[in-house]
Symmetry: C2
């Protein structure tokens, strides 16, 4: 079972939900055309399907053995990585001044989805490199940029993010890695970092580590953290004092090496400051926000892959007889209502998560490219709100869809040979790294809802309402109860948002934090449901204009399924958010044993 | 991290939710006393925690290598199995005439939960043996009973269920294994079976296979299937013509050998008919119903284990600062509202699933032991309704709770060493085997709801309403909105049930099947929520009577959490059931690509 990127649906979502058509019209993307976007997507789809997808199971089985500090990547991976970088995929979103193509985050997001759907363990590495490029571009000194950016943009070298230490995970204020100024502008870095993705590998000759550490006189907590660039190989060609001391044996993404990195046990690793002293967290957050969207895309990606595999199996596998089929013998299980429900749930959830991720990417583009400052700020706030939703909702969907994919396979799903189980194993990490989904929910509620005094989130909700009104006006019976169900979901979100803003302003903000996770889910259902409806409206308009592509009818059916069968969870989630915080007092008792 | 069976909560649930006190009072269980039940549970808890739990990870790592048709179980397993059987645990529910203790299914269910929580791959073997004992007791000839029952009851030998063939999974009508009468009362069995749990192992000297096969003149489909007993070692001490030809490499339960069994490639395996010719499926369903409850208990078990591990981690792990804590430095993550929510969701879901499983077990006991035929029939119908809910709801909960357990651990949850990931891997199968959860939902809707013209399910719903009324009358503020939220859930279930019964009777029963899965979930929420409320009411009464055990307050808090934060999904599920079937027409289009 291979992977075929759903190019038509990706492009349709980009154009009609994430606003690509509109952005191209107004000149936001320079001379980029829809045709060019399509041909890039088709080229990417070919590479993902033909080169990366076949290496997915090989990677899972081989893992990344560590010996004497060196890691051997699985067979075929080095060649695939070089072909991928040489084809320009790593440079696609990179800065033009350093050899990048400067193409939109929106387009790159569709590509990131493809790489990760084909092979999540492969796709993860470039996510880190791209984040580092962004951080260096924005905050690196000209010398550092000159020395590192071109090779990172081309993919000749890769990069890592070094945040976590054993005592400092979600709470980075606790980190202990130290940086001592040498006097020549460089620093000696000493400390241990864990869970460093692609911290060591043999895909490239050098690896550029971005490392959070404390200067000697740094204040305690998160205000005393600085960011350093620490290359594996120093500019003079010698090895830096950094090594991989161990790798984790993980549930999934076996081919993505997760390293314990030791800095400076030979006297200090040489590094250079990136950005201002003690402001490392701000730079890292830039990198992390980019990575958070990419991780959300991993959720979409693994869901799409799991869906394609389950769909294919359900068409082939014959068991029982369905009422709707007249043929002799056993019928394909896709004909059974319960299997249909599973497949539609998978497809609709995936499409909703994709729409949210692409909307986030488009808002990020606009926050950089918009003409005036107000539009930039509005887009930045929109991206800020959507990023935690894109990350957490999509990765939860990734797990759920991969799990349903196993279920569709029945007993065969539990057998590793089938491949369905690998998707579930791989998907599980995305809800954890780059800030657990619980952290995303807190970020959404505590930091993002209050942006512009709540106006930013209100603007998003107003747009959702606009889409619902559009469905109501459309009148095509194929929409079923889409408008009614989405309206309920959006109104639930609106009331829950008011509750959250009020609770945050009260003297007991834990009332808001207690409901952060169900609130984020509710947000995803309303935003995802209306995004699918927006696509369906565009499809409906195309049909009215005479287009006969059956995919248009499918888009309406999918929006309807989501509204009638998934968005209906919104009301219960609203109750949980607004009235479920009673557990805050009860918990110490209830969890005592 | 070891496992401690929650004996107090198990016993409380048995007594006050599953009706153990009442059953003892009316003499249903002979001279069984609550004290005896408690001491048996405590003894079982000791064995589970001290002997079985430490072997869980060993089993996961070693697996069950197959060489020359023989399987080597992991280190320590053979000794543990013998100690377990010698302590009488296998014989606990077995028939007294054959050395069993004849103790209730309810009590055994709590024990089954313990074995599986401690070590699911270990606990699975006896589930099959106990099912075979029940089938043989009810349908075996005296000769077969005499030859096999005693050794199966003692655990000296184990048993298997052989249903699945490559082309016959959920659809057993398609099976091809053949049985030819020899003329001396025995049969020659020829065919291949897959996914045979504990089909081969070195725990015992003999293995008794129960095998579905077709007689030469059998009608096609499910009405032409007979059941045969085929021992690994024949009565004369020679090896039978049956062998393990392969084992599956699975996502989880690595220490439970999943075998491909080949019967008769040396001319025919010798077997004997169990029950009537062509009535094998009825016998197998008896066995399978027993096994379905046991699999539901596995869901509860793995959820409990995952909860205990996550709770322990959340108390130890320190990250960030919580508003509710004054202490210096970082605070245990259990103090963060979002982590509290995760842990309470885990605990409340687990308790609800446990209550449903124990209720099912109690109904099974009553269906055998009740004094008059009407009471027996009513109990049988209740058990019939609850069994698919116990199986599917609990195993879904098992997966969800195990997945949340990984999440509570953050990055460490994804590292296999921690053990949290194993629970998720192990839990995943329970939603698939013994009839996928989709099959359970169809069974509930299509076969169980219509029992006694719908009166059986109405009686259950009436009891749920009674509990809600009890909460309303109780008046203790600690219940919060429990009554209101549970009332909504029960009324949603009631309306959805009416819809289902009507749809089944219509000429388009697919309208019912389309909503079977969300209906079963809705059933679980209403039944589970009211069961927790019933326990909470008993706790409230105990407190009013002067008992000061803090567990009583915790029971009320848990029921409240479930009602206010989980049962609230009921209304949306009702909508899905009653109005979401629009996808039946849309699906062919929406799933075309």
């Amino acid at each position: 079972m291979t992977y075929r990127a759903p190019v038509a649906d990706m492009l349709f979502t980009m154009r009609h939900v994430a606003g690509l058509d509109h952005a191209i019209e107004e000149g936001l993307y320079g001379d980029l055309s829809t045709d060019l976007v399509q041909s890039i997507l088709e080229e990417g789809a070919r590479f993902a399907g033909e080169v990366l997808a076949p290496l997915n199971r090989i990677g899972d089985q081989h893992g990344t053995p560590l010996k004497d500090g060196a890691i051997t990547m699985p067979p075929g991976w080095r060649e695939a990585y070089h072909a991928w970088a040489q084809a320009g995929w790593n440079a696609l979103p990179g800065p033009v001044d350093y050899g990048g193509q400067g193409l939109p985050t929106l387009l790159n997001s569709a590509c990131v989805e493809m790489w990760n759907a084909a092979n999540m363990a492969f796709g993860l590495g470039p996510v880190l490199t791209m984040g580092a490029i962004e951080a260096l571009t924005a905050h690196g000194s000209d010398e550092l940029k000159g020395r590192y950016l071109e090779k990172l943009v081309s993919g000749e070298w890769t990069a890592t993010m070094n945040l976590t230490e054993p005592q400092a995970g979600s709470d980075l204020g606790a980190l202990r890695t130290r940086a001592e100024p040498v006097g020549d502008g460089s620093y000696k870095i000493t400390g241990q970092k864990i869970y460093i993705t692609y911290g060591e590998h043999d895909l490239t000759d050098n690896i550029v580590h971005l490392v959070l550490a404390r200067l000697p006189d740094a204040p305690a907590g998160t205000r005393g953290i600085s960011l350093f660039l620490v290359p594996k190989v120093l500019p003079d060609g010698t090895r830096n004092d950094v090594r991989c001391a161990g790798i984790e044996h993980k549930l999934g993404i076996h081919a993505s090496p997760t390293c314990t990195m030791v800095y400076g046990d030979g006297g200090g690793a040489t590094g250079w400051l990136v950005g201002e002293a003690n402001r490392g967290l701000a730079v890292m957050f830039l990198m992390m926000n980019n990575a958070r969207l990419a991780v959300g895309l991993q959720g979409v990606a693994i869901a799409e892959r799991a869906y394609q595999q389950a769909l294919s199996y359900a068409k082939d596998r014959r068991q029982g007889r369905a009422r709707t089929v007249q043929a002799e013998g056993m019928h394909p299980i896709i004909e059974h209502p319960d299997v249909k429900r599973m497949l539609l749930t998978m497809k609709a959830s995936t499409a909703a998560a994709r729409a949210i991720c692409y909307m986030t990417a488009a808002a990020l583009d606009r926050s950089h490219l918009a003409g005036d400052a107000d539009a930039k700020r509005a887009a930045h706030e929109r991206a800020s709100i959507l990023t935690p939703v894109a990350k957490a909702f999509s990765t939860d969907i990734g797990i759920e869809v991969a799990s349903t994919g196993v279920q569709v396979h029945g007993g065969m799903g539990f057998v590793e040979e089938t491949g369905a189980a690998q998707h579930l194993r791989d998907a599980r990490i995305a809800a954890i790294y780059e800030g657990t989904n619980g952290i995303q929910a807190i970020d959404l509620v505590a930091r993002k809802l209050p942006l512009s005094g709540g106006e930013a989130v209100r603007a998003l909700i107003a747009e959702m309402r606009g889409t619902v009104t559009g469905v109501t006006k459309n009148g095509d019976a194929a929409f079923g109860d889409t408008a009614a169900r989405l309206r309920e979901a959006v109104e639930s979100l609106d009331r829950a948002t008011s509750f959250m803003l009020k609770a945050l302003a009260s003297n007991d903000p834990d009332q808001a934090l207690a409901g952060a996770t169900p609130y984020l889910r509710l947000f995803g259902l309303a935003q995802g449901g209306t995004a699918l409806a927006k696509a369906a409206l565009a499809a409906s308009a195309a049909m009215k204009a005479g287009e006969t592509d059956p995919a248009h009818g499918a888009r309406i059916a999918l929006a309807r399924f989501f509204a009638e069968n998934l968005a209906i969870g919104a009301r219960g989630l609203e109750d949980t958010v607004t009235a479920g915080a009673g557990f805050l007092q009860d918990a110490p008792l209830a969890l005592a044993s």
